[in-house]
Amino acid sequence: RRRTRSTPIFDDVHGYLMKFGYLPESDLETGNLMDGNQLHEALRTLQTFGNIPVTGKMDAATKQLMKKPRCGVPDISQPTGQRRTKR
């Protein structure tokens, strides 16, 4: 008999973004509060990577993307992707 699908262990946005390299994992342990911009920036990077509209918000397309089955290897391995670049 088919098992029901489990609730994803990355059911929170922060957890998902940390798991796949969009937010630094140290925040999970240190409990650092991140500012809104950091989260929006991480969402924007995820949306860019996932080829969905880049809004920086937790919209329907982003929720849909995060539900999709995927590989467990992080997409971004260095925080440089979220660093501001010098003009």
Partner: protein, 444 residues
């Protein structure tokens, strides 16, 4: 495409399916699908793949569920289906599939199932050195997509693999071998398989000049030896070049290494003369039958804490404080915990952490109690693995994890080890040579 930074330094790779028990699917069809997935990559590059029945194959394939010892637990059906390790020694190149998925083999289709072939092609891309690509129709796009088994490798992935391993220079591509359930034999492509006489697990570190991203941690394939097996004969002075350590800690600004009944003291000018010394000569009234300490750390108030079995001792300098030892449970640790592996004050937030087995706790120094929400899984200390021997923060501010005769330097901000390959404790901390070491019981 996105290159991870490491590649195999040989193109004739071997692979092996190491899972014996696969309840839901035919083992032969699984091997057939994995073989076909490898051929997708060999079709467009100089790579060849040969299946062997050996632990020493370059790429080992496992079906695992939940926590399976690599710090990347699976989550049951759905969401994360598999992961793989980038090229390297030990676990490098290996691919793990979530056993709890509804795997479809042999081109079967189902609304709820997932094609093993499709996922395997993607994971083997990691095994060969490719990271995730943001090109939506690429194989290395992180989110799996449906595709036909006779698909052509997308350009993005084809260029990526060819940059790493070169273009196939002959038209030797034949038909993809197909599993025959009557014989349980997967035919081999004779035109592309080279003669290999010895199967060895290869070192595969070849640096690459394109954007380098750190690989996932690679840890020893072997299960950690039980603590009793690691212990040396305690009545003999251990050779610091050739041993693991029970505990390491900075005490009064100097580094102490503990093994059995002995400790070495490392200062700014190197190893102190007269060491190793018996621990009981420096810290008084420890139990006379003590064979080893489990963990030692200097508290932020300057007190020195020793963990030995189910008890902990607090010292003010050389002398124990009255009222100790106390059981681990006095700290709020669980009754079933029979030892701790390591204790540190983490430089990143100046909080005290206790490690044991696969879990860790954070201690509130004011109340001397473990904080709520703990224990947590040690996998967040990515690359340090489980069942560590020791951990400490050194003078450079970095955290170091010790296990067996190796250690990792940990990047606190990125929460992962700086290098997936561990370094030798003897060589780095004691200037031992790779071959020498025995008989040098701290006499230098």
């Amino acid at each position: 495409y996105n290159l991870q930074g490491q590649k195999w330094n040989h193109v004739n790779l071997t692979w092996s399916l190491r899972t014996r028990r696969l309840d839901k699917v035919d083992h032969g069809w699984v091997r057939s699908d994995l073989n076909r997935a490898f051929q997708v990559w060999s079709k467009h590059s100089k790579l060849t793949f040969r299946e062997v029945n050996s632990e020493s194959a370059d790429i080992l394939v496992f079906f695992e569920k939940g926590y399976h010892g690599d710090g990347y637990p699976f989550d049951g059906p759905g969401q994360v289906l598999a992961h793989a390790f980038f090229p390297g020694t030990g676990r490098g190149g290996d691919a793990h599939f979530d056993e709890e998925e509804e795997w479809l083999v042999a081109d079967k289709t189902s609304k709820d199932g997932t094609s093993l072939f499709r996922v395997a092609v993607h994971e083997f891309g990691h095994s060969l050195g490719l990271s995730h690509s943001s090109v939506p129709n690429a194989l290395m796009f992180p989110w799996y997509q449906d595709m036909q088994s006779d698909f052509e490798l997308p350009n993005d992935d084809r260029i990526g693999i060819q940059v790493l391993y070169g273009v196939k220079d002959e038209k030797s591509w034949g038909n993809i071998p197909v599993y025959n359930p009557q014989t349980s034999i997967i035919p081999v492509l004779s035109t592309t398989v080279p003669t290999i006489t010895a199967v060895t697990r290869s070192t595969a570190i070849t640096s690459y000049t394109t954007p380098v991203t750190p690989s996932k941690p690679t840890t020893s394939r072997t299960m950690p030896p039980r603590r009793a097996e690691v212990a040396v004969v305690v009545d003999e002075k251990p050779d610091f070049c050739n041993t693991s350590f029970d505990a390491v800690s900075i005490i009064r600004k100097e580094t102490f290494f503990f093994k059995g009944k002995y400790t070495w003291r490392l200062g700014p000018k190197g190893l102190y003369a007269g060491y190793p010394a018996q621990i009981s000569r420096l810290w008084y009234n420890l139990p006379s039958n003590m064979t080893q300490v489990d963990a030692v750390y200097e508290r932020q108030d300057g007190k020195i804490v020793f963990f030995i079995g189910r008890k902990y001792y607090v010292f003010d300098g050389n002398n124990p404080l009255p009222g100790y030892p106390k059981p681990l449970t006095a700290l709020g640790l669980p009754d079933e915990l029979d030892h701790v592996d390591a204790a540190i004050v983490w430089g990143h937030n100046s909080k005290t952490y206790i490690f044991s087995g696969t879990m860790y706790w954070r201690c509130d120094d004011e109340t001397e109690q473990m904080e709520l929400d703990y224990p947590r899984d040690m996998s967040i200390w990515r690359g340090a693995g489980y069942n560590i021997d020791a951990a400490f923060q050194w003078h450079d501010g970095a955290t170091y994890f010790f296990k067996n005769r190796d250690f990792w330097k940990f990047n606190d901000l990125r929460m992962r080890v700086e290098q997936e390959e561990p370094r030798s404790i003897g060589e780095f901390w004691f200037n031992c040579t790779a071959t020498g070491g025995s008989g040098r019981n701290g006499d230098r």
